[in-house]
Symmetry: C2
Subunit: 495 residues, 2 copies
């Protein structure tokens, strides 16, 4: 019996993995090559696949097998796999199919309304739709009903094991420290001397694409297992084992394509480094989005915005444009300014953006504030944390897509990933004190292998906190990130 159950449970996981990959291909194609008019049929295809996946995960046959196995003594990886999959199945079974459909419909309409609201620069267009989404997501959270804040039931889906109660003091401390670092930067003699070296120079599309491919390859992205295409918004997706794809785009700033390629390649290396042995079961996945983001932000910021890294790439950029002063150039890569937009933010302001969103969505889910209060609260907090308020809703509360898709609990993973990244960087430097010498030569081999061994190879056999403990000797530690920022920016801005 036991053997049969285990086999069946693995078969279900394999099928769910296959569906996930197919769904990822539909989405990748939609964002890269699909002819414009294909969109309606594509939406039907995607919805149909979600239905098949949902039917699979809530199947009685599967649940009965899982319950029987839970009563038996199982050890090792099978035990881990069973626990994690059971949790996922249990979660899915708590939400009735009708609510799944309602949320799908509400977020589909919500996404559309969000875009219209942005076009009209008017939150009111989006408000009724967001109210509906919030209502449904609170309903979902109540059905899942993890202990503590209602928010935890949603957060757990993105960052398993994390809670609002744990996050609050960490983010509170981070917020105070970030505001202090920003104060020091703004009082420094170098602040505001930005010369717009990049925007002042033309970097051809061909050059930008060449650099994108160059850096991905140097980071160790295997061309037989990955590809790089062009899309409106850069993203990484896993189509299947040995098939991971990233995209890039050319924007006004010539650094955009390059930095986002470094970021997405970080994600892609993680996907390709997950344990192949568990390719068809839940252990082959990631423990949390925070860990995923730690990989992209580690490469983007700790490596891709470091002086050693740019002492290598400056040579290439210099050849293309009229650049001569490396110090000025490097300062521009790391220039700090009070931008209102999260995705355009510098390293120092970035987590403040995230914390603001976390505070608002937490209060929303806990029923302490209303959707209609969002624009006012947003602007008040921006004034408080940034000393400036957005001029429009598009620059403010309408800037992110997440809420329109019902993704409450997603934002904190950006800040968590950033903190993890700094811890990983510290550990890596402890292991290889002279790693800068490699980086200055554009050689990232040791870094990639260290990440493969110390982060990627665990898959989701452990939760995020345990992965970080194993890789860095301790769990989440925001001090390390604060020290990293103080250390780096005091040198750049001289404070």
């Amino acid at each position: 019996m036991e053997k049969g159950d285990l086999k069946l449970i693995k078969k279900y996981q394999k099928e769910l993995t296959l569906i996930e990959g197919v769904a990822a291909l539909l989405d990748w194609d939609q964002q890269t090559y699909m002819p414009k008019s294909g969109i309606l049929f594509r939406a039907e295809q995607s919805a149909f696949l979600s239905e098949i996946a949902h039917d699979k995960i809530v199947s009685e046959e599967l649940f009965n097998s899982l319950k029987r196995l839970k009563r038996k003594k199982i050890f090792g990886d099978d035990k881990l796999m069973l626990d994690r999959f059971y949790k996922r199945v249990e979660r899915a079974r708590k939400i009735p199919r009708s609510l799944v459909s309602e949320i799908a419909r509400a977020t589909s309409l919500g996404h559309d309304a969000w875009q219209r609201a942005r076009d009209k620069n008017n939150f009111e267009v989006f408000r009724p739709y967001l109210e509906r989404i919030v209502e449904l997501k609170r309903k979902e959270a109540k059905l899942i009903s993890l202990p503590g804040s209602l928010y935890n039931s949603l957060l757990d889906d993105f960052e398993e094991g994390m809670t609002a109660e744990k996050l609050k003091p960490i983010f509170e401390k981070l917020k105070i420290e970030l505001i202090e670092i920003i104060r020091k930067i703004e009082n420094s003699k170098e602040y505001g001397k930005r010369k717009n070296i990049f925007l002042g120079n033309k970097f051809s599309k061909e050059f930008q694409e060449r650099m994108v491919r160059d850096v991905a390859k140097r980071m160790g992205l295997d061309e037989e297992k990955s590809r790089i295409d062009f899309s409106e918004h850069p993203f990484t997706t896993k189509i299947g084992i040995n098939d991971v794809r990233i995209t890039f785009n050319i924007r006004e700033s010539p650094l955009f394509s390059f930095e986002s390629a470094v970021h997405e390649s970080g994600h892609a290396l993680y996907e390709l480094g997950l344990p192949e042995k568990h390719a068809y079961d839940v252990l082959g996945g990631t423990p949390s989005l925070g860990i995923h983001e730690s990989q992209s932000r580690f490469w983007e910021n700790m490596i891709g915005k470091s002086k050693d890294f740019w002492s290598f790439y400056f040579k290439k950029f210099k050849e293309e444009a009229n650049l001569n002063n490396f110090e000025e150039f490097f300062r521009e890569v790391n220039s700090v300014s009070k931008g209102m937009i999260r995705i355009e933010s510098d390293e120092v302001h970035y987590c403040l953006h995230v914390i603001l969103r976390f505070e608002l969505e937490l209060a929303l889910m806990e029923g302490k504030i209303k959707v209609r209060d969002l624009p006012k609260l947003w602007n008040e907090r921006m004034k408080e944390y940034f000393g400036k308020t957005p001029k429009t809703d598009v620059e403010g509360v309408l800037q992110d897509v997440h809420w329109s898709g019902g993704y409450f609990g997603y934002f904190p993973t950006y800040a968590l990933g950033t903190i993890y990244a700094s811890q990983i960087f510290a550990s890596l430097k402890k292991k290889y004190p002279k790693i800068e010498e490699d980086i200055r030569k554009g050689n990232f081999r040791k870094i990639k292998l260290w990440l493969n061994e110390n982060v990627h190879s665990f898959g989701s056999k452990m939760l995020a906190e345990e992965v970080i403990k194993k890789a860095c000797g301790e769990g989440l530690n925001v001090e390390i990130y604060i020290n990293y920022l103080n250390d780096k920016y005091s040198k750049i801005y001289g404070f």
Copy 2:
């Protein structure tokens, strides 16, 4: 009850249509952009989708609904839809899942063995695998058991309503006439004067791709509903409503990319012209592969190898290379020679290749010959029809992929499509006697619209024979094709 049944039957058809489109995307991606190492996971994804589709089509719930509805009075399109879908379901239900899997495995191994046999230029490597495939396909045919030749049960899947008994006299006549036309060509004064204008000139890849896109656009392929990519073998695929894709390739002959683009665009225009009202049911498909092929071969041969067509495109090709003599150039486009390879064949030899394959696969299925006899029989018939025998197995019996995939009954549709194409051409000229004037200007609008109205718009509401009757005033008529060839080639070769 009835209403519920009809709804359910339509739901099943919609789901099957969605799965087909997703499967088509997996295949398209595999042939265009998939990273090399993604192949193993892709095979699993494709197999899984086939299983889902098979489970759907043989579902008891569906069959019960269909049986109930068959007893009721249904009219109009619903009646047509019901009949066609019932037939498809009945056919699928006749084949047990175990046989479906066995055939899938045998053809998967068979395809691999076929490639190895080609690499070694040795039919013996392929023989045991082909024997197994033939055995399984005969088993399948016996289970389906249509009246007449055992071959009919397989042929019907590609060309519904067609039988070996109907085909034999038609192909017999065609064979005799083709051999006679070839004799006249070979005795003409122009024969053998080919100058290899194309191979002697360099046409850049950029130029070839520009011409591919140019001709597809002129033919009326809407860029918002289609795309053109690069792949090893050119093909057309429908991903969904308003999303049809073709591919091209660059080969030694610079005409290859252009002619195959015309061919594939013919297929693509057909797919885009099918009735959108029936996009989610069986009536929105094609009645037969012969009709599909009539569209590609009509454009490729009757239009794309005509003098009027080339009087337009010669100007563009002339600019790229050192060409001056249009007559010579045109004769080269239509040069006739005794090639051993079907897909490289000229218009006159093409159907002879097809008839040879038909005769052999018919005898195989009827148990009159054995797989081990194939190379000998192939070469004997080549000698008889072509007056020449292939030097190797790769040039002979190993040249086509079809049998390795179990596609017995497929070949005749190439010849049928060619005959239909000539009939369509004759009807079109009756309707628009001065259509050459448009063609000479590179204007194909009237042709596309006529095909849309007289062929595409019916979907599969009628069988192939009826579509041709409606479009051309009579059913399959091989005389028209023979007249077309005599007329065209007597002018070119002067006989």
